[in-house]
Amino acid sequence: MLLIGVFLAFPAVWTIYLGLTNFRLLGTAALHSRFVGGENYLNALTGGDFLHSLYITFIYVVFSAVIGQCVLGFTLAWVLRNWRGPIRRGLESLIIVAWIVPGSVVAFLWLAFLQGNIGPLVETGTLNTILGGIGINWWLELPMLSIVVFNIWRGTAFSMLLFGAGLQAIPPSYLETARVAGASTWQMMRDIVIPRSRGHILTNLLLISLWTFNDFTPFLLTGGGPGNQTQFLPVYIYQQAFQQGALGYGAAISTLVLVINLVVALFYMRILRERR
C-alpha cells in the first residue's frame, strides 16, 4: 500500500496540484511557482492548440483504432478461423510480430519505409522505390494518413487475437443451423456472430481506444508535424511541458486527458453492463 501510495497516488495528486500552478522548468516560476487556480484550464479550453490536438486525436482514434484495427482485426479473425496449418501460423506470426516489436524500432522501420526523396544525401524510402517515380513525401504530404496506416498495421494483431478467441467460443452448430436455414454470411454476422461477440467487441474497443488515445509513438515518426498536423494530445503535452517548459500547463492538460479517458472508459463499461 505504501509503495502504491508513493509511486502511483502521489504523482497523480501532484499532477493535479501542478495543473493549478504556473510551475515552469526554467525561469523565475521554477523557483517561486504561484497558485493560479483554473487559469491553465481556461487557457487550454479557450486557446486553439488544445482543441486542435483533441480534434485530431479524436480523428486518429476513430480511423486507426475503431475503424482500422477493430474492423480489420475482426475480418482477419473471421477469415482465419477455419484455416489450419502453416499458412495460418505464418500469417499470424507476421501480424503478431508487428505488435510485439518495440515501438521505437517499428517507428524507425516505418520512417525508412515511407521516406520521401528529399535530397541527394538521403536514400529514397522503400515504398517510393517500389512505386517508382511518383515520389510522394509521405510524412510531409500525408502525415495523418501515414500515421493512421502505421497504427492500424501495428495494432491489428491485438484485435485479431481477441476476436479470434471470441469466434472460437461460438459453437459451430450455431452457424451451421443458420446455413441450413439459408442464411447468407452477412445475415449470420448480423444475427449470430456480432450479438455473440458483443462483449469481445466492446472490451476490444475500450482497450484500443484508450491505447491509441494515449499513444506517443507518432512523436517518434513526425514530431507532431509538419506544423501541428499530427500534434496528438500526448505529443502536445510533451511539447508544452518539457520542450516549452510549461509544466503547470502540461499538468493541467494531462488532467483533462485523464478525465477524457475516464469518460470513455465509463461509456464503454456502461454499454457492456447493459448486456441482455
Binding site: 446455413r179 441450413v180 445475415q187
Partner: protein, 381 residues
C-alpha cells in the same frame, strides 16, 4: 415431402480420412430412417453431406426429384437439429423458432405467430418470451424441434438429438418424436449411436461401420437377422454370444461339446469349415446338469437387470452370457450347460463374417423367462 436417393457417395477429408466409401442408400418418402453405428463410422458425415454442410468427394444426392449434390444447404429445403440444439442464447424462444422464417423474409408478426402455433403444438405454450437458458433440457430440445418444424422442410435431419437428455427424458422424447413424425409424415433421417433408440424410433435403419453401410432393413429384420458379425455384435441390449465353432459331421463342434446346426443352415456349410454361432443371451437357457447340445460353462458373475438377471459364463469357447429370469440365477462358480434356442440362432462364416444359410432368427414366439416369472411372482433369490 420427398424421398432421398444417395448414389456412390464418397467423402474423403483433407487429412486423408475416408469417412464415406461409395455409400448407396434409398430413403422412402415419409419414412423415419435411422443411421446407426459406432462413433467414427461416418453416420454424422453422411447426415452433414445430406444437409450440404460437407461437400462429397464423389457421388450424388437427390432429394425428391432434385439433384441437390451441388446445392448450398439453404437451397435444399431440409432442417437439421443438432446434438447441442444450437439455440441462440440472445434470442427468445419465439425468435429462435422463427429464425429460418426470418431468413425466408417472412415479416416479424406472421413469423412469431407461426412460431407460437408450432411451439404450442410441441408443448411450449407460454414459453415464447423466455430465453433458452431459462428452459429445461427437454424443453430446449423441443424448441430445436419446433424451429425445424416451423420452416416446413421436405426432410428433417436429426443428429443425435436425444443424447443430451437424461435417461428418463430420453424415453419421453423418443415417444414424442415418433408421434410428431406420424403427425407430420415428413421424411426423417435420424443419426444415433444408441441401437436401442434406433430400434425404437425408426421404421427403417442402416447400420454403418467405417464409412460403409453393413445392413439396411427394418428394425425387426436388423435385430433378428443381422447380416454379418459386425451388425450382430452391435445390435442388442446385451451383446450377442458369438461362439467359434467348426462343422464336424453335420454338427457344430464347440470346444469338447457338440451342438446341432441351426435349421436351414446345413446346406450352406462345408465339413470342417470354421463358423460362428450367434445366439442372443435372451435366446439361451441354462441347465444345471449335462444335456445333449449344451455348452459346458461356469458361472463367473451375475448382474441384476431388474426383471431378469445377466449371467456371465466362462467356457472352452470363451466368455458367454445368458439372460435368465430374476429367480433363476445359478450360484456363482457352479457348472451349468448353456443350451442355444436353435430356432433363433444364426450362423456366420468365420472368414467373411457374413450370415450363411436361411436361419430364421425370427421373432420369439414365447419367452421362457417371461413365463416362469409369471408363474412364480416374488420368488426372489
Amino acid at each position: 415431402m420427398a424421398g432421398i436417393t444417395v448414389a456412390k457417395l464418397t467423402k474423403v477429408f483433407p487429412n486423408g480420412v475416408r469417412a464415406l466409401q461409395e455409400v448407396d442408400l434409398q430413403i422412402a418418402d415419409g419414412s423415419f430412417f435411422a443411421l446407426l453405428g459406432p462413433s467414427g463410422c461416418g453416420k454424422t458425415t453422411l447426415l452433414r453431406t445430406l444437409a450440404g454442410l460437407e461437400a462429397p468427394t464423389h457421388g450424388t444426392i437427390s432429394i425428391g426429384d432434385r439433384d441437390v449434390t451441388r446445392l448450398p444447404p439453404g437451397a435444399r429445403k431440409v432442417a437439421m437439429v443438432f446434438q447441442d440444439y444450437a439455440l441462440y442464447p440472445h434470442m427468445d424462444v419465439a425468435d429462435n423458432i422463427a429464425y429460418p422464417l426470418k431468413i425466408q423474409r417472412m415479416g416479424r408478426g406472421p413469423r412469431r405467430q407461426r412460431a407460437a402455433e408450432t411451439g404450442a403444438h410441441l408443448g411450449l405454450e407460454g414459453m415464447m418470451d423466455r430465453r433458452p437458458a431459462q428452459l429445461s433440457g427437454g424443453q430446449q430440445q423441443r424448441v430445436a424441434l419446433a424451429r425445424a418444424v416451423a420452416s416446413h422442410p421436405h426432410v428433417f435431419l436429426f443428429d443425435e438429438p436425444l443424447s443430451n437428455l437424461d435417461a428418463r427424458l430420453r424415453m419421453e422424447a423418443r415417444t414424442f418424436l415418433k408421434r410428431l413424425h406420424s403427425d407430420l409424415t415428413t421424411t426423417t433421417v435420424y443419426v444415433t449411436h444408441d441401437q436401442a433408440e434406433a430400434l425404437a424410433v425408426a421404421d427403417r435403419m442402416a447400420v454403418m461401420d467405417r464409412g460403409t453401410i453393413r445392413q439396411i432393413g427394418s428394425p425387426v429384420e436388423v435385430f433378428h437377422r443381422p447380416a454379418n458379425l459386425f451388425v450382430a455384435s452391435f445390435i442388442g441390449n446385451t451383446p450377442m454370444n458369438l461362439i467359434d465353432a467348426h462343422v464336424v459331421g453335420g454338427l457344430l463342434r464347440i470346444g469338447d461339446d457338440t451342438v446341432p446346426l441351426p435349421p436351414n443352415t446345413a446346406d450352406a456349410v462345408r465339413e470342417g469349415e470354421p463358423v460362428v454361432l450367434g445366439a442372443r443371451p435372451e435366446y439361451v437357457a441354462l441347465r444345471p446338469g449335462p444335456v445333449a447340445g449344451g455348452v459346458r460353462s461356469r458361472v463367473v458373475i451375475t448382474e441384476h437387470l431388474g426383471t431378469s438377471i445377466l449371467v456371465d459364463l466362462e467356457s472352452a469357447a470363451g466368455p458367454l452370457q445368458a439372460v435368465v429370469a430374476e429367480d433363476e440365477a445359478p450360484p456363482l462358480g457352479s457348472e451349468v450347460w448353456l443350451v442355444v434356442a436353435l430356432a433363433r440362432a444364426l450362423l456366420y462364416a468365420k472368414e467373411s463374417g457374413e450370415l450363411v444359410g436361411a436361419a430364421l432368427g425370427g421373432p420369439p414366439t414365447q419367452r421362457t423367462t417371461a413365463a416362469s416369472t409369471a408363474t412364480l411372482p416374488g420368488a426372489a433369490s
